[in-house]
């Protein structure tokens, strides 16, 4: 019964977060000092070197307001928005790229984002935790300081500097990777798949390096603290081997906060990695959101932010639901 109440409480919280998130998502773009109709007209006028007549612009303005569903008061628009999103998960057409549906734009970008970020986040987490565990468990040895140094060295480097340095080194000085990605199109073949992997390696390596340092430092601190716990000392006195103590006693207990961090990181993956996408010309949801934000493309912003809210909230829910499995103290509370 306790578990059921726990699950119901978490689910209720989850739904409340989603509702509040959706409402804020609706309001936020409308507080921006950008009008999507003006944005589109501005683009057209700019392309035309200002040659479109005033009559044509006035007609375009009326048409766009109708097409974009920007007629009516705010509350009417809000109800229509909730109905479309909740019932059909439909965010309507993109304003900037009318009549392209928002869902298609997001679905095109999402696999690239997920492929790169899920993989690199997970690899950085696994490698960082392994190195951090060894560095923390053997923290009195000099070799452990070297491992910690790697984390201290990488963690504070601003991502942009790290990315450009990696790019310069591995694509210009030693031109192993391309400076900007070129992904093949058409029917997937093993060769094309290889090209995709090859073109994704450099941004992937950079993301792993960027995430690696934090995981080392975090896990090392946790492992040092856990190593000093009485039950670890007891295990050593009992004759348990270093390997056994490190993996079974220290790692399992130090892991819990790291799992939380991983789950939240995976939830944030849906925000994309804008800098990575810009620097490496990598397609993804970050660039879609950036274009939408600068152009006042409400619908695309709704779609992308809603997805992100759902992802982060779901990650939080999953953590809450699996914690009892990982931590018996919660299970038996």
């Amino acid at each position: 019964m306790g578990v059921m109440r726990y699950v119901a409480k978490r689910l209720g919280l989850y739904l409340a977060v989603l509702f509040i998130g959706l409402t804020i998502t609706f309001l936020l773009p409308r507080l921006m000092p950008i009008n999507p109709v003006d944005g589109y007209i501005g683009q057209i006028q700019s392309r035309a070197n200002g040659s479109i007549s005033a009559e044509a612009i006035a007609e375009l303005r009326v048409n766009l307001e109708q097409l974009y569903g920007l007629e009516g008061d705010l509350f009417t628009q809000y109800l229509a928005y909730l109905k479309r999103v909740v019932l059909n998960f439909d965010f309507g057409p993109s304003f900037t790229y009318y009549p392209q549906p928002v869902s298609a734009m997001i679905l095109n970008a999402l696999p690239w984002t997920l492929g790169l970020l899920l993989m690199s986040t997970f690899i950085a987490w696994v490698m960082g935790n392994m190195v951090g565990l060894v560095a923390g468990y053997f923290h009195r040895k000099k070799a452990a300081s070297v491992l910690e140094f790697v984390g201290i060295l990488l963690y504070p480097i601003p991502y942009y500097i790290l990315a450009v340095t990696v790019l310069l080194l591995l694509a210009y000085v030693f031109p192993i990777f391309p400076l900007s990605a070129t992904f093949p199109v058409g029917q997937m073949t093993p060769e094309k798949f290889g090209m995709i992997i090859y073109n994704s390696l450099l941004p992937g390596i950079t993301l792993v390096l960027a995430g690696f340092g934090w995981n080392i430092l975090s896990m090392k601190a946790l492992a040092v603290a856990t190593t000093e716990e009485p039950y670890v000392t007891y295990a050593r006195l009992k004759g348990a081997s270093n390997w056994m103590r490190m993996t079974r006693y220290v790692f399992r207990n130090a892991l819990l906060p790291q799992v939380t961090a991983l789950a939240l990181s995976l939830g944030m993956v849906f925000n994309g990695a804008l800098l990575t996408e810009m620097i490496f010309s990598y397609p993804g949801i970050g660039l879609v959101m950036r274009t939408a934000a600068t152009g006042g493309d409400y619908n695309v912003l709704y779609g992308a932010i809603t997805l992100s809210i759902i992802a982060v909230a779901t990650a939080g829910l999953v953590i809450d639901l699996i914690y009892p499995l990982l931590d018996p103290r919660i299970r038996h509370r």
């Binding site: 501005g42 683009q43 070197n49 007549s53 766009l64 992904f183 490496f280």
Partner: protein
């Protein structure tokens, strides 16, 4: 552990060794021979929706569409500013004295890229569709407001009636500088769709030009065009044989990666690379060239000019003394040096000073500028601006052989600009009761603090961003409490369109005149485009906020004149005089455009001393470039 390491590293190294060839070989990343492929940096960077190729909706304009794919009734020779027939067989025949009825003949033997013949039916279908769905299609408003009726005479002839007398028929339904608002679509593709044309994506598009889409990246980073085997019977096949078999438009990413890729000969023409990056790239690759071999190195022939648009409907900017004070406190020499390393061409008139507009407007108004006198007898024009700039640059260490001298100064740095004279500016302000307060800033006539903002583009236009900050710096030094506010392009347009939010803005949108036809930009100066000073309603033009009745009259009168008639041009000059006399906007300079080229694989790009067309890869005149460039033979 070591064995495990080798096991993990082996596939990675294997992948690297097998794929490095792609980055190094003579083939491009998209699988075409590099020696047969012209590669250009896409003007608009990555396209967020590359599948949108329906010109009746989101106008697919860059990535090769208007340059290689679409074809227009009349094109413009950008070296001279003259129109020439492209799809049309000659210029339109005028059928009535009111100049509202025209007959157009089409060239016979032109075919779409799928082999179907192009005829008047395509033109008629496009017009019918534009009008039928004018409330749903988002790129037909110009045509539907310009054309009244039409009819087909035969397969190669049609007639059009315009809403008003049309002296700009060939440039509205054809090309004015960069492309056309009238994009003809293939009837045989669109008609079967019925009402679905309004949401039709049209990818890959069937096109009229000598190139057809071979492949494009659904993520929008690149678009590959291939020369049609039947290019001679394409929309502009009569221009000559295009030299590259393939043309790749690609976004090479941030400026850092673009510069590196350019050095590595990965592409041939860049767009808007900063002068600093070009210098760095040139130092590492001798094949990289700027537009001009001498200062200023970059192209200055864009149709538009940068200027400070003043909302003269708002106090205290409604006083000409204040506007002149603003102009006389811009240290343009310093602005140009700090923002663009001195590579700019100043212009005091409200339009760009190019080889085409220079003789028509600037040369003719030289004496007006030199003799211009303010109410207090002060002569504000400095005809030695260019020579002084050259001297300053030489003093700063620029190689004298790289600087223009004698008559070349006028061509390079412009005819002159306003004096930098803060004392005169202070005198003008004092004459209207605006004096400096204890804080060192000028106050309003009633003694209250005067603060204002200059809205400038953010990172999306770095040249304007730098210029804007530098101007604000000039003004603050002169005692104006101004802040430069950088905004995204969406907000930039909102500020431009909304009186209540607009004071001063660095802009270009109303100073775009490429030839004698100043109506292209200034036809917006009408009473219909004036809103109350604090209105939140959107303007649909006249972003300079001109309220001068004399100018409205000249614009109205000129609507019934030939756009190259002496009276028409004189009216344009008179508008320029009125704008300058009252300093209704502060024109600064031609838009400087950096178009560095890499001659490793292709040569004979348009340059200052080889100006057969504008060098822009995003104007439809790029067709002249692809016809005239030559392969170097580099494999």
């Amino acid at each position: 552990m070591a064995r495990l390491g080798r096991y993990l590293l082996a596939p990675v190294l294997g992948a690297l060794m097998t794929t490095t060839g792609f980055a190094q070989g003579a083939m491009t990343d998209v699988g075409t021979p590099r020696s047969e492929t012209l590669i250009v940096q896409a003007f608009d960077g990555r396209s967020a929706n590359p599948s949108a190729q329906n010109p009746l909706n989101s106008y697919a304009i860059w990535r090769g569409f208007r340059e290689l794919g679409w074809s227009f009734l009349w094109e413009m020779d950008t070296a001279t500013g003259e129109s020439y027939p492209e799809l049309a067989d000659g210029f339109p025949e005028v059928l009535n004295d009111e100049r509202t009825q025209f007959r157009v003949k089409l060239r016979e033997g032109v075919y779409w890229s799928d082999g179907v013949e192009f005829t008047a039916d395509d033109v008629i279908y496009t017009l019918e569709t534009a009008f039928k769905y004018r409330e749903q299609l988002t790129n037909v408003a110009t045509v539907t407001n310009y054309v009244k009726s039409w009819n087909k005479v035969d397969d190669y002839t049609f007639e059009i009636e315009t809403v008003r007398p049309a002296y700009d028929f060939t440039t509205v339904l054809g090309v004015y500088t960069w492309g056309s608002q009238f994009n003809i679509v293939p009837k045989h593709i669109f008609e079967p769709l019925g009402d679905e044309v309004v949401t039709f994506q049209n990818a890959p598009a069937v096109t009229l030009g000598p190139y057809k889409i071979r492949e494009f990246d659904p993520n929008g980073f690149w678009q590959l065009w291939e020369l049609r085997e039947d290019w001679e019977r394409s929309g502009w096949g009569n221009l000559g044989e295009p030299k590259p078999r393939y043309i790749l438009y690609k976004d090479f990413g941030t400026e850092e990666t673009r510069a590196l890729a350019f050095v590595q000969n990965q592409y041939d023409v860049d767009t808007f690379m900063s002068p600093d990056s070009i210098d760095a790239a040139k130092a590492r690759n001798p094949n990289i060239e700027t537009f001009s071999p001498t200062f200023p190195y970059h192209d200055m022939n864009d149709a538009c000019s940068y200027g400070i648009y003043i909302n003269g409907q708002k106090a205290p900017f409604d006083m000409p003394e204040v506007r002149w004070a603003l102009a006389l406190t811009v240290n343009l020499q310093q602005v140009g040096i700090s923002a663009m390393s001195g590579q700019f061409k100043a212009g005091a008139l409200p339009l760009a000073d190019t080889p085409i507009t220079g003789p028509l407007y600037y040369d003719e108004l030289r004496s007006f500028l030199e003799e211009l006198t303010l109410a207090d007898g002060y002569k504000p024009f400095n005809p030695n601006f260019g020579a002084e700039l050259a001297e300053t640059l030489a003093a700063q260490g620029v190689d004298a052989s790289q600087l223009p001298s004698g008559d070349a100064i006028r061509d390079g740095f412009g005819m002159g600009w306003w004096k930098h004279d803060p004392e005169q500016a202070a005198s003008l302000l004092e004459s209207v009761g605006m004096v400096k307060g204890a804080d060192g800033y000028f106050a309003l006539p009633d003694g209250s603090p005067w603060t204002f903002e200059l809205v400038i583009p953010g990172d999306w236009n770095k040249v304007m961003q730098r210029i804007g900050f530098s101007i604000a710096d000039s003004w603050r030094q002169a005692g104006f409490n101004v802040s430069a506010r950088q905004v995204d392009n969406g907000e930039f347009t909102t500020v431009q369109n909304t009186n209540s939010r607009n004071e001063l803005q660095l802009n270009w949108s109303n100073s775009c005149t490429y030839n004698s036809n100043w109506q292209n930009s200034w036809r917006q100066f009408t009473p219909n485009n004036v809103q109350p000073a604090d209105s939140t309603d959107q303007l649909s033009g006249n972003y300079m906020r001109i309220t001068d009745e004399r100018i409205f009259d000249l614009v109205a009168e000129s609507a019934s004149l030939e756009t190259n008639a002496p009276e028409f041009i004189e009216n344009g000059r008179q508008i320029a005089r009125y704008l300058v006399e009252d300093m209704q906007m502060i024109n600064l300079m031609n838009i400087p455009t950096t178009i560095p080229t890499n001659s490793t694989y292709w040569t004979n790009f348009p340059k200052q001393d080889n100006f057969y067309a504008t060098p822009y890869t995003w104007w439809s005149s790029f067709k002249q470039t692809v016809v005239r460039i030559e392969p170097t033979g580099q494999q």
